[in-house]
Symmetry: C2
Amino acid sequence: MSRMSAVTCQISVSLDGYVAGPNQSMKDPIGEGGMRLHEWAFGAGSGEPTPDAAIVDELMRGVGAYVMGRKMFGGGDGPWDATWTGWWGDEPPYHAPVYVLTHHPREPLAMEGGTFHFVTDGIESALEQACAAAGDQDVAIAGGASAVRQYVAAGLLDELYLHVVPIVLGAGERLLEDVGDPRLEPVEVTASPAVTHVRYRVVRA
Amino acid sequence: MSRMSAVTCQISVSLDGYVAGPNQSMKDPIGEGGMRLHEWAFGAGSGEPTPDAAIVDELMRGVGAYVMGRKMFGGGDGPWDATWTGWWGDEPPYHAPVYVLTHHPREPLAMEGGTFHFVTDGIESALEQACAAAGDQDVAIAGGASAVRQYVAAGLLDELYLHVVPIVLGAGERLLEDVGDPRLEPVEVTASPAVTHVRYRVVRA
């Protein structure tokens, strides 16, 4: 696969390595306590973006396409209910095409910001399609954890941007499990009282 | 317990949360691959301390006493073999009194740098004795992981200084497991290509 795009991922992780709390369900997709992983990005309620939220905006600006796991898009595990259009309402925060990994075919879904495409022939195919769509912009693996793990394990990720949240969840879904032994280099660290952002370059073997 | 000393801990941890590799034994106390957690502190072989190693020296300078788990001191789990004087030879790197948590009594062991005391009546007693010895200097929990976990879970740690090493060990002994839900605040971050140092203040409930 030849690619011009960098393949990136940004994700919030607890100090004990979880990206979601325990007992995830359709009603509670990030699990018990999992919302604490994302509070740093919401700001203090003033409506003004925090410096931390600005980092995310900046990261998303360079993204030309997304790849997303089925669980993150939602709608259950089985064949598609065509009325399910994701968690985000009419205007998802993904302003570029999104390639959803799934075992069940579905027609493309045009949404405000970017069309969702459903890819049934594996993670490499999804990435290839996303790279073609992104041109010279980045492709971001949007999550969830399982999708990220698969791309790390396959050696297909170039950059992992962790937002390390100073909480201990104690249980839930881990990010870096069964991913082999990737070679990582911390290349940028941005600290705030709420969260520590560490950008890792993944060195290709 | 009234204390003037801050109770601190510095420890190297992999990106997936391990402080030792799998299959630890008397012959291999930090487990398979565990030595990779400490390479950042060794320097490049020039004998000159790296900036990262200087951080550790600075942290150790303010320490007036140490508390250490039995496993970290070594010598097995049972009653003491009096010929066992630790892993470090004649001059251990602990230049202050050391209080070793153990179920088996033993006379104090005078070593170059500081005497090792063996405490059989629990973690609070060991900390109290260490604080008395430290005066207005810090008490450091030297490790291993089990000792650190016990002090975090008991709410007795004031500061956790993590050296986050950009490796994925995949298995081994975790640091932040069964420690409850401590309230942590990142107060200082120092980045290098080899390791990310994050100092967390532990907020007392």
